[in-house]
Symmetry: C2
Subunit: 223 residues, 2 copies
């Protein structure tokens, strides 16, 4: 796959963005855009139907139906040969680290140049991964061993499924009592989870949690 044409698939819910990138990439001689998808589910069913698999998937993280994180996990499992370049608007530390851990081989902020994008694609095709300086720094921050694993894990910011579930309900303006009722839990349990969320996301209050959730694409902004 080195000297060959690099086969790309684009996944992003914004048509304009997708088409734009598509045109940009097709100007490159060694890059071919196989197809596009507007969310993770579409991507996966397309992958199952297409004979030729892409070398690289360029994927937005904030998408409806099946988001970038979940989609990446699925791809890693069922199509381990496909490289994933994560593309997003924001770059929260914990999220970069999270994506890398899940298996993205490159991480790009949308506010990047076409040149960088093409360069990243070529590097990924050649070496299998490509991390720019910012990403490398973030990785360093996280990979560094720490004295206390518990504290570190609290600081690292990864959320458990339950925590994510509760965070989403918080973003939906639910109170602790309502969340408890909805999930058949004690309010105290919900309080505990919320407290952990505050610690993990380093937030002071609900406002911080919501901002974090949206920044990290845990809560979608779509109505």
């Amino acid at each position: 796959m080195n000297d060959d044409v690099i086969k790309i698939v684009l996944v992003d819910d914004e048509v304009l963005f997708r088409k734009g990138i598509s045109f940009l990439l097709e100007k490159e001689e060694n890059i071919e855009v196989l197809f596009e998808a507007s969310n993770g589910e579409e991507l996966i069913s397309n992958l199952n139907n297409h004979e030729t698999k892409p070398d690289i998937v360029i994927m937005d993280l904030k998408m409806p139906v099946l988001n970038g994180v979940e989609t990446t996990k699925v791809i890693r499992k069922f199509f381990p040969d496909i490289k994933i370049i994560a593309l997003t608007s924001y770059d929260t530390k914990s999220f970069v680290a999270n994506m890398i851990q899940i298996g993205a081989v490159a991480y790009l902020v949308k506010n990047t140049t076409p040149k960088d994008l093409v360069n990243t694609i070529n590097e990924v095709a050649k070496k299998g991964f490509f991390y720019n300086e910012t990403t490398l720094k973030t990785i360093q921050d996280y990979v560094l061993p720490s004295k206390n694993s518990r504290v570190n894990n609290l600081e690292s910011g990864f959320l458990s499924p339950r925590e994510i579930e509760i965070l989403q309900l918080i973003c939906n303006q639910k109170t602790t009592a309502e969340i408890a009722e909805e999930l058949f839990l004690s309010p105290r349990t919900v309080e505990g989870h919320r407290n952990n969320l505050l610690l993990k996301t380093e937030s002071r209050n609900i406002a911080g949690l919501v901002v974090y959730a949206i920044q990290n694409e845990i809560a979608l902004l779509t109505l």
Copy 2:
């Protein structure tokens, strides 16, 4: 300016998106992209320096430094001949209405096709404006006269400068007491504003306020 080439300027903080659209548009024979800008301030200083003015500015609403709403106001004042097409990721009712009221001649969600974009540009160049069905419906909802102006204004969701200021501080995880101190106000006053914010945005709590703020580009997600 009817049969002539349509001169366009793109304003968006995401380089990739900008370049993508740029390529898309330059494939059209009757469209020329004069220049690009990454935020409102850059756009305005560019407008001042360029001899040839654009016919249309395509503007993202969520931008750092000077956002789309403020930029639109400035353009309407100093370059009234330039048409503005608003482009955004989300389409909250109050925001669409707000932009139209400010003077945008078209409103496009980013999740639209290149064809629609080109079509909108051509229509705007020809007729001076172009509203799609969704936008028209939103306008209808707002233009309809109402029995009670006070209630209507509360429902319409437009926020006063003071309210926006306080909303931003809320998004920064500030408590009522802290906001009061920072703005040299009584905590009760801040409570009053916050209460009005809850009413105007139809939110139940802080979480709702934060979501609203981000959806309506009042609070930026950039760190």
